[in-house]
């Protein structure tokens, strides 16, 4: 059984997406572990990692997502394990998961060093698991190059089977290659692929936004799988909004205070994919009834419009296990732009 650990130099580089794409591309029986969880999902009084839950569903992994993660917080890990038995725990987890799988993907914490104080950082796990290490990088091209150079020059990879780097979400692949390919080649970093930025992957579903904002769903429960392509802050009157081109887009999400009846009504009439009602103010019952009739999700939140907009702006668009379109894009990206399949 092959074991591969994916890590990144910065958080949200796209490790989970690459694992999903690769898993789909190789068509083998896969196992998955994320020892240090970072995307909490609290269900039925137990804590899961969101990525573990998604991957479990996509690949029909029998192992419960709850058992794929040792902890989410340093204090919990320190309380439960010491330096030695955490390594033993990792090894025993790998043994449990390994049976009946062709390949085991291990995903590190949010970045390469996360968890080092509790022996749960990527390099420690790689050694303990005797797994190939793949580093995923993304972001601004100059930053990527700086980080990789620093990584190569100042990180000891002794005893680690370092397979190479995947450069993810690159806005201009040709430009990146032209400027940096030679430099990276000279420092002997193996580039396993350069994946172009795909806008479609950045659009979150209403369900995801609702979960992240801990919103109360007032109406339109059945329409929560819709994708948000545009976010519109309804700070003007309903009439003024209707004159704006952006307001006419169908896949827009409106953020407005619950007492802005004119804005909410205008939004419902233009077929938005959802409305976030801020300040914990419920609209009039007739407006709620209309939204229910038209199956427009109304999401009630306590925070104000500014904070909601800021949170959505900073939100990481995670993949949903039912979003076949996005999963297809991830698979194609691995096949078309990387050599990862050859490692399998």
């Amino acid at each position: 059984m092959k074991k591969i650990i994916f890590t990144s130099l910065n958080k949200n580089a796209g490790k989970t997406g690459i694992i999903i794409g690769l898993g789909k591309a190789i068509n083998q029986k896969i196992g998955y572990l994320k020892p240090f969880g970072d995307r909490l999902l609290y269900r039925k009084k137990r804590l899961w990692d969101y990525d573990s839950a998604v991957i479990s569903k996509i690949f029909n992994i029998e192992e419960s997502p709850e058992g794929m993660t040792l902890g989410f917080d340093h204090s919990k890990l320190r309380y439960m394990y010491d330096e030695t038995n955490i390594i033993e725990k990792i090894k025993s987890l790998i043994t449990e998961v390994s049976s009946d799988t062709d390949v085991l993907f291990i995903e590190s914490g949010k970045n390469i060093m996360h968890g080092v104080t509790v022996n749960l950082d990527a390099l420690t796990i790689a050694k303990a698991a005797d797994a190939k290490l793949i580093v995923v990088v993304s972001g601004d091209s100059d930053d990527i190059a700086d980080e990789l150079l620093y990584f190569k020059q100042h990180t000891s990879l002794k005893g680690i089977d370092f397979a190479g780097v995947v450069v993810n979400k690159v806005k201009d692949v040709d430009d990146f290659k032209m400027v940096y390919e030679d430099i990276l080649h000279k420092i002997e970093i193996k580039i396993l692929g350069i994946i172009p930025f795909e806008a479609e992957l950045t659009y979150p579903s209403i369900q995801l936004i609702s979960d992240m904002l801990m919103a109360k769903v007032i109406s339109g429960e059945k329409a929560l799988d819709q994708v948000v392509r545009e976010v519109f802050v309804g700070a003007m009157s309903g009439d003024a909004a209707q004159r704006l081109e952006k307001f006419k887009n169908k896949n827009k999400l409106i953020i407005t205070s619950g007492d802005r009846s004119d804005m909410i009504l205008a939004a419902i009439e233009t077929q938005c994919v959802g409305i976030i009602l801020t300040n914990n103010i419920l609209p009039q019952p007739n407006i709620i009834a209309l939204a229910s009739e038209k199956e427009v999700p109304l999401l009630l939140v306590h925070t104000d419009t500014h904070k909601v907009a800021k949170k959505i702006d900073q939100m990481v668009p995670l993949v949903d296990s039912t979003d076949m379109k996005k999963i297809g894009i991830l698979e194609d990206s691995i096949k078309n732009y990387t050599t990862l399949v050859d490692l399998m």
Partner: protein, 539 residues
């Protein structure tokens, strides 16, 4: 007002208009008027109250000496209430005004005519000596209507049927009724009607009479006026209250106008008549009440002030969970077992010490509405669930506010279910410290079944607060359910009121929910929220 009262022959000893900028307010005037012999009753029209705390104290005393009727405008207006606590959001300013006026023995009229009717009646009528009222009528339907009105205005009808039959069988026709209402029927002659009223007058067990008259062929309407006048004079002489309500044609209408001008209590509508007797009884009951010696709860205000001052010196205008718990302990109120964990190890230790299941709540000066941010997790049954809950709460709070100062995680015994009630106290802008009691639970905001009092409140009055809510039968136990520990509820309200009254820097206290168990098993304050202010007595 002068014209109106002149038409109705109501004597005015004083008519005083207080401008907004006058330094004499309602309390000063009531204090003055209550000492004036030529003032029999006081009518106040109020738009707003400035120094409500003093007014309450003055009214409580004044109404024991003279009836005070009030009309307040702005019934429908919701007060500008801060929604920091349920106490503020569960009632508008008018509900609070209404409750406090009742507490002070003030009679609140719906409209000007009713207020004038009440004042006129209360100025002239004798005070009842007991609660046995009898309705004497020559019309069945109007008798039933009056019975309904008596229920509305809380008039207790004399119900000793055997005794009433003994008294009135001689004056009642065969198909009439000697049950209260005494129905003489339309067959009754003027003499029989008058005789029935004579019987009621002479009887010592009957304390008040509602005399209803419908114009019939059996009674000469022209003699009606003199008959009523004669009967009224006899009742007046014996100081027994009687009120007439009469129905008929032009002659009867003229009788009402004439007698009314002569200050004989005659009304067109039974509800007007009954309401007058009703307020007379309200006044009667208020004067009878003796609060007795007040209990002073063993609560160290000094210790509570120390907690409050520490929180204020930390720059907080609210108490943290552990401080609230300490306040409960000082107040002698029972809360669930709890402890504050500063790390995950302590959380497990506290949970194991308390015993499962437990509840975990964030303790943070930056997070007031803990549930809204995922800062409260319930029903945790074992160590693994506590570990997961700890990590989740920390994560949720950081997501809500990345720089939130988290003072710890409170691990609390999950109390067993009971009847949930809410007790709240706050400093009202008009009346100063007030206390609220009501049914709690998830429907509290919808049902709004609450009662209010201005502080200080007597132990007897606190008991009335509990009885006053519509859901009181739930506390008594319905459909075979056992009675709840009502005494412990009263004790808790009394203590919360005492703390608010004596700690001027506390602006709001809310015990929500207070879990009430069967009688003898006590209550548990599941959560307490305390808001503070740097300046004393600020609302």
């Amino acid at each position: 007002m002068i014209g109106k009262t002149a038409v109705q022959n109501i004597g005015l000893s004083s008519i005083i208009s207080v401008g907004n900028k006058s330094d004499i307010d309602e309390a000063d005037l009531v204090e003055y008027l209550v000492k004036q012999d030529d003032t029999k009753s006081i009518l106040m029209y109020i738009e707003g109250i400035q120094k409500g705390e003093r007014l309450v104290n003055v009214l409580k005393e004044a109404t024991k000496k003279k009836p005070i009727v009030v009309i307040k405008s702005g019934r429908s207006k919701r007060g500008a209430i801060a929604a920091a606590s349920h106490t503020g959001s569960l009632a508008g300013a008018d509900e609070i005004f209404d409750a406090i006026m009742r507490q002070c023995g003030v009679l609140r009229a719906e409209n000007i005519q009713q207020a004038l009717d009440w004042c006129k009646y209360l100025s002239k009528a004798p005070i009842p000596t007991g609660e046995n009222t009898v309705i004497i009528t020559n019309g069945g339907g109007v008798g039933v209507l009056t019975t309904d009105a008596c229920e509305k205005y809380n008039i207790r009808l004399f119900d000793d049927t055997a005794y009433l039959n003994h008294l009135f069988s001689d004056v009642t026709h065969g198909f009439g009724s000697t049950k209260n209402p005494i129905d003489l029927t339309g067959e009754a002659t003027s003499a029989e009607y008058e005789h029935a009223l004579e019987v009621a007058l002479k009887d010592k067990q009957i304390n008040a009479v509602l005399a209803l008259f419908c114009e019939t062929a059996m009674i000469d309407a022209n003699s009606l006026s003199s008959m009523i006048r004669t009967v009224y004079e006899k009742y007046k002489k014996k100081e027994k209250p009687i009120i007439f309500s009469i129905f008929g044609g032009e002659i009867t209408e003229n009788v009402i106008t004439t007698l009314s001008k002569d200050n004989v209590p005659v009304f067109r509508d039974v509800y007007d008549a009954v309401s007058c007797l009703g307020v007379s009884y309200t006044q009667f009951r208020y004067v009878q009440v003796v609060d007795g010696e007040e209990r002073v709860p063993k609560v160290s205000i000094d210790k509570i002030s120390t907690i409050v001052n520490k929180a204020l010196s930390d720059g907080r205008e609210f108490l943290l969970a552990d401080e609230g718990q300490e306040l409960l302990n000082i107040a002698g109120l029972s809360g669930p077992k709890s402890g504050i964990a500063r790390n995950i190890k302590q959380a497990v230790e506290i949970a194991e010490d308390i015993g499962y299941p437990v509840v975990m709540k964030v303790v943070s000066r930056d997070i007031l509405h803990k549930s809204d941010v995922g800062g409260v997790l319930l029903d945790l049954d074992n160590k693994e669930e506590v570990l997961d809950a700890y990590q989740t709460i920390i994560h949720n709070c950081k997501v809500f506010k990345s720089n939130a100062v988290i003072d710890g995680i409170e691990v609390v015994e999950q109390v067993k279910p009971g009847t949930e009630v809410i007790i709240g106290g706050r400093r009202d802008k008009a009346f100063g410290p007030i206390i609220m009691f009501g049914l709690g639970g998830i429907y509290v905001e919808v049902i709004k079944d609450v009662s209010f009092r201005a502080l200080p409140v007597s132990y007897r009055e606190t008991r009335l607060m509990v009885k006053e809510i519509k859901s009181f039968p739930l506390l008594l136990g319905v459909r075979g359910e056992p009675r709840k520990d009502i005494e412990k509820i009263i004790n808790t309200i009394y203590r919360v009121g005492y703390i608010l009254q004596n700690c001027p820097r506390i602006t709001d206290i809310e015990v929500n929910p207070l879990m009430v168990y069967e009688q003898g098993n006590g209550v548990k304050a599941v959560d307490i929220r305390v808001m503070l202010s740097e300046s004393e007595g600020k609302n």
